[in-house]
């Protein structure tokens, strides 16, 4: 009943293609997070689902029917907006009631449903207040109550947590997931925050420039990013990505990086071999690297960030191109820091932090190394 699907959906605004041939299935009662940098088309996709924008081509399915032609009110969806979109002149009660009034729900029934929704979100004491008299978190709950009051099959949420302060956001994340389980509905959730995506989603769908990059469970997307964009976007601190040259010699396949050469394990080597003498991008998550006097990569410590439970040792690889050269790369992945000249090593807080400017050596867990095509698509290279 709560299944949702995009079927080759494209949306153009004049010359600009906001969503490009999007095909995506969301199962009933699934929590799917659409994530990507601003302007990636995620909000447009959501608005098409809501019936606020029409696709230029392709179809939208909700439940078991094609709703491309169906008006928003008849789609059995509810939406929570980033701004909450509460009506400032109405009390909380009237706000929650508003979706029921247009559906001609009888007054007694309305009252019962409002009470129920208010109880679910702990709003009973606030029913006669106006939105201006509420805190940010309370407003957010009113917006949720207004969405759940008529029990839609699908919830659409557009950055619903981005106006909350950091602490409340963490708490609300958990509450939202719990609410979704309790109501047993489908949620399509849009955010630019990959932490929200990782922590809440059953599956993540990563978008960039209108194109769907990868769909999968958070752990899978994290462990095997399909391309360089996903690799850099998901994960915090971001994955180190360093361009290097493939070197094949005597049965081993390695990559010459600034600062040193690393050998690749067999499964990856098979896929990389074909690129002999060509360029590839090597990706290493900060937790898969460590400082090691015997390590193959030579570097200098630039900054040490102490977080309390762990440290980030930010190094500059020897012979790395200056930051300016990598500028283009950072632009592409707005949000995910991917300055190629820096290399982050994550280590427990108990480890001794090296001094700034000190020369160090780094070793990487080669079984966990990702290798990407150096071309614009940045496809992941692995054994077929």
């Amino acid at each position: 009943m709560g299944r949702v699907a995009f079927d080759h959906v494209t949306k153009r605004f004049g010359e600009v293609t906001a969503v490009d041939d999007l095909t995506l299935d969301v199962a009933d009662q699934e929590f799917l997070v659409l994530v990507g940098p601003s302007g990636c088309g995620k909000t447009t996709a959501l608005r098409m689902l809501a019936g606020l924008d029409d696709p230029t081509s392709g179809d939208i399915v909700i439940g078991d029917r094609v709703v491309t032609e169906v008006a928003a009110i008849d789609r059995d969806i509810a939406m929570v907006f980033q701004s909450y979109a509460l009506y400032p002149h109405m009390t909380v009660r009237r706000n929650i009631e508003f979706p029921l009034r247009s559906r001609k729900v009888p007054a007694a029934e309305r009252e019962r449903l409002v009470q129920e929704a208010a109880a679910t979100l702990d709003l009973e004491a606030l029913l006669d207040r106006k939105p201006a008299q509420l805190s940010g978190g309370q407003r957010q709950r009113v917006a949720l109550a207004r969405a759940i009051v008529r029990r839609p099959a699908v919830f659409l949420m557009d950055e619903p947590l981005s106006n909350l302060d950091a602490k409340l956001r963490v708490q609300t994340r958990a509450e939202l997931v719990e609410l979704q389980r309790r109501l047993a509905t489908t949620v399509v959730y849009v955010t630019h925050d990959q932490v929200e995506a990782m922590t809440m989603a059953d599956r993540i769908a990563v978008m960039d420039r209108g194109v769907l990059q990868q769909v999968g469970p958070p752990q899978e997307v994290y462990a095997t990013p399909a391309n360089l964009f996903v690799a850099r976007f998901i994960g915090n601190p971001p994955m180190n990505t360093v361009t290097g040259k493939v070197v094949v010699s005597e049965g081993t396949v390695g990559v010459q990086l600034p600062g040193g050469r690393i050998e690749l394990p067999d499964d990856v080597a098979a896929a990389v071999k074909a690129h002999d003498e060509g360029e590839v991008v090597v990706g290493v998550r900060p937790e898969h690297a460590r400082l090691d006097p015997e390590g193959p990569l030579e570097a200098t410590v630039a900054v040490v960030e102490v977080l309390g439970h762990e440290q980030h040792v930010i190094c500059r690889l020897k012979d790395a191109p200056p930051a300016a050269d990598a500028e283009g790369a950072t632009d592409d992945v707005a949000g995910a820091v991917a300055t190629e000249s820096l290399f982050i090593v994550r280590q427990p807080n108990d480890d001794v932090a090296p001094g700034i400017g000190v020369g160090v050596r780094i070793t990487v867990d080669t079984r966990r190394v990702h290798v990407f095509d150096a071309g614009t698509a940045g496809q992941r290279l692995e054994a077929a």
């Binding site: 809501a50 606020l52 009110i73 969806i77 509810a78 980033q82 701004s83 009506y87 508003f98 247009s102």
Partner: protein, 275 residues
């Protein structure tokens, strides 16, 4: 040389009070005059305080001077104009702010252009039109030419543009069409601007002079401003009645000013500051 704070404060009050006295003096003299007998009015030095107020001048203005009728006519015409301007401005302002249709910009410019044409420029033909429509000496003739205002449509367009797009989207999802959204959400949210426009329209309509003078000659249809004109020419021995009529004519706006000062100020200063 430093004066003490208390003295400075007293000085400030003194200055303000003197200024208030100067501004109000003509009004005070008029109110006093309306309560005097004609022979007291001509006495020299002029009487500064009515020891024995003669309220009879007010009843005389109300009945013999037809001020009851004039005030009623002004009220009816002002209500028609104010309501009409609010309705047409709300509708047009909403269309300009929230709807897409071909030639919207052009039509909007046409609305703005009406502000460039003073009404005085159009009286010749308008008098003819109203006569042709058999609206001479009718409320319709007095009110209909003023049922729309470019300024009002502009003001409310600006107000409606302030409404967040998310509210419209949320209402769309809940099945509220434009008209329902207009009534349930847009109008309540634009209330400050609507109130400002209402007060502004009321003021303009109540004070009209040239047009009512042109399209009415029947005493039963004349408005209070023209009523003052009728009284003006009366004899000196009835000047207290004239002054009473003047007070009556101004009273509704004085009440309005006191009750709706905030809205009035908003209505009058839109565009003056901030532009």
């Amino acid at each position: 040389m430093r004066s003490s704070p208390a003295l400075r404060k007293a000085l400030r009050y003194l200055v303000l009070t003197v200024l208030a006295f100067i501004v109000l003096f003509p009004v005070y003299v008029t109110v006093v005059g309306s309560l005097l007998l004609p022979e007291q009015l001509t006495s020299r030095p002029p009487t500064l305080f009515p020891n024995d107020p003669q309220w009879g001048s007010y009843s005389e203005a109300w009945t013999d001077g037809h001020f009851g009728t004039y005030l009623w006519n002004s009220a009816v015409v002002t209500a028609m104009i104010t309501l009409g301007q609010l309705v047409t401005s709300i509708l047009a302002g909403y269309a300009f702010a929230m709807l897409e249709f071909p030639f919207k910009r052009t039509i909007f410019v046409v609305f703005l252009a009406t502000m460039m044409v003073p009404f005085e420029v159009t009286i010749i033909t308008n008098l003819q039109t109203v006569t042709d429509l058999h609206w001479y000496d009718t409320y319709a003739g007095l009110a209909v030419p003023f049922l729309a205002t470019g300024f009002g449509a502009f003001l409310l367009r600006q107000a409606f543009l302030q409404i967040p797009a998310d509210l419209r989207d949320a209402a769309t999802i809940d099945g509220y069409g434009h008209l329902k959204f207009l009534v349930r959400v847009a109008v309540p949210l634009a209330r400050p601007s609507i109130a400002a426009l209402a007060v502004f329209s009321f003021l303009g309509a109540w004070n009209q002079y040239l047009w009512p003078l042109l399209v009415t000659e029947d005493d039963r249809l004349r408005t209070v401003q023209i009523g003052l004109r009728q009284l003006r020419s009366t004899q000196l021995d009835e000047i207290n009645v004239t002054l009473a009529g003047t007070v009556l004519a101004a009273l509704p706006l004085v009440v309005l000013l006191i009750l709706f000062q905030k809205q009035l100020i908003r209505g009058l200063t839109t565009g003056a500051v901030k532009g």
